[in-house]
């Protein structure tokens, strides 16, 4: 088929789909976007809400059920963890808000999305890996304070070595799990963006 014939076909193809009525279009405007960035934002909001809920429960448990001698220490640790999470969530929101410019040139929007997504994945990976070390150490310290004075059947240094060994195993598992999880969540999308951008630049490279 000649290209002019294809152009003619293309011109007429607008009529191949029946137009939508105004009501149908208007209905669409009330729906929320299902784009990847909107999904990440929604997930982050859920994360923040879950943390707030979890914090509420923990604070309630500590103030009502736990020995008051460790109360002060716990509150400080929880406060630090809470602040760190808020900093993380704020930075992530900031990154997400700058992540796309749908009315910009396609190439610049793809570049913007790719760079931001890579930053986001790095942030997620680092926070996840540092977070687990922090949580593990805090949990260990709390149990050490709670169990202080209790006799254990194994020597003290073995107890510490065991604690550290379990910690290392947990960190290694978490490291590989995070890599696998992040690749499944964003890896394919990042690769797709890279391929498109590579193709856009291909002739310039040659």
């Amino acid at each position: 088929m000649e290209l002019e014939k294809l152009k003619e076909l293309w011109d007429n193809s607008s009529n191949a789909s029946l137009p939508m009525n105004a009501e149908g279009l208007s209905q669409i405007l009330n729906n929320s976007t299902r784009g990847p960035i909107a999904s990440i934002k929604r997930n982050l909001t859920i994360e923040v809400l879950l943390v707030i809920l979890l914090y509420g429960i923990i604070i309630w448990l500590i103030s009502n059920h736990v020995d008051s001698t460790i109360l002060y220490f716990d509150i400080i640790l929880l406060g630090v963890a809470g602040i760190l999470f808020l900093v993380y969530a704020f930075y992530k929101y900031k990154l997400l808000n700058k992540m796309e410019c749908m009315a910009c040139e396609v190439k610049s929007n793809l570049n913007l999305q790719l760079n931001s997504l890579e930053k986001l994945v790095k942030l997620y990976f680092r926070v996840g890996n540092i977070g687990i070390i922090f949580v593990y150490l805090v949990a260990g310290t709390i149990s050490y304070i709670v169990d202080a004075g209790e006799t254990v059947p194994i020597p003290h240094y073995v107890e510490i070595l065991l604690f550290l060994a379990i910690g290392v195993v947990l960190v290694v598992i978490n490291y590989h799990f995070s890599r696998w999880y992040l690749f499944n969540l964003y890896g394919k999308h990042i690769q797709k963006l890279k391929n498109i951008l590579y193709e856009m630049d291909e002739s310039e490279i040659r």
Partner: protein, 169 residues
């Protein structure tokens, strides 16, 4: 109750709906994918409508938003989409019933385009819509020199593919 702005937007979309349908047809794999993508493009256009300052042509702005949406969205094909999508959009089965010479050729065209890469699809679409290299550059952000090289390659590829589809090879 629709606002003045909403009415303005809906009129604009109705006027250029064909462009969105074409992009959906080219980038989505199945009927559900098309509905999904159509909805996503309309939402994204609505979101960026406020910032549209008439600095570029309407079609340039629409192409940018629609292509950005189509290229960056995660594919959700073969999955039932539970959205209240009006039935006015013809589905593939309905189209099959009205196959004649024109429909057959149109199917060949879409079939050929589907075999192109994501970027080639965009370039070919703009070419078929008679856009100048300047406008293509404004939409895609690719230099005109690069576009010319890619365009020649894509046109040749399209010619070859349509020929092989027609001859059933």
């Amino acid at each position: 109750m629709k606002t003045r702005k909403e009415k303005e937007f809906l009129a604009l979309i109705s006027e250029h709906e064909g462009l969105i349908h074409k992009i959906c047809h080219v980038y989505a794999a199945d009927a559900f994918g098309k509905q999904d993508l159509f909805q996503e493009i309309v939402i994204q256009l609505w979101k960026s409508f406020e910032s549209f300052r008439n600095e570029s042509k309407i079609s340039t702005w629409m192409y940018r938003v629609a292509l950005n949406t189509a290229l960056t969205e995660k594919r959700r094909s073969n999955k039932k989409v539970s959205l209240s999508f009006p039935s006015s959009l013809k589905d593939d089965k309905a189209q099959e019933n009205v196959v004649d010479g024109y429909e057959e050729n149109l199917n060949i065209l879409y079939d050929a385009i589907s075999k192109l890469t994501e970027v080639e699809k965009a370039i070919v679409m703009l070419y078929l819509d008679d856009k100048s290299y300047e406008e293509m550059e404004e939409v895609l952000g690719i230099s005109q020199a690069t576009l010319r090289v890619k365009m020649n390659r894509a046109k040749e590829k399209l010619r070859q593919i349509t020929k092989s589809i027609q001859h059933g090879t």
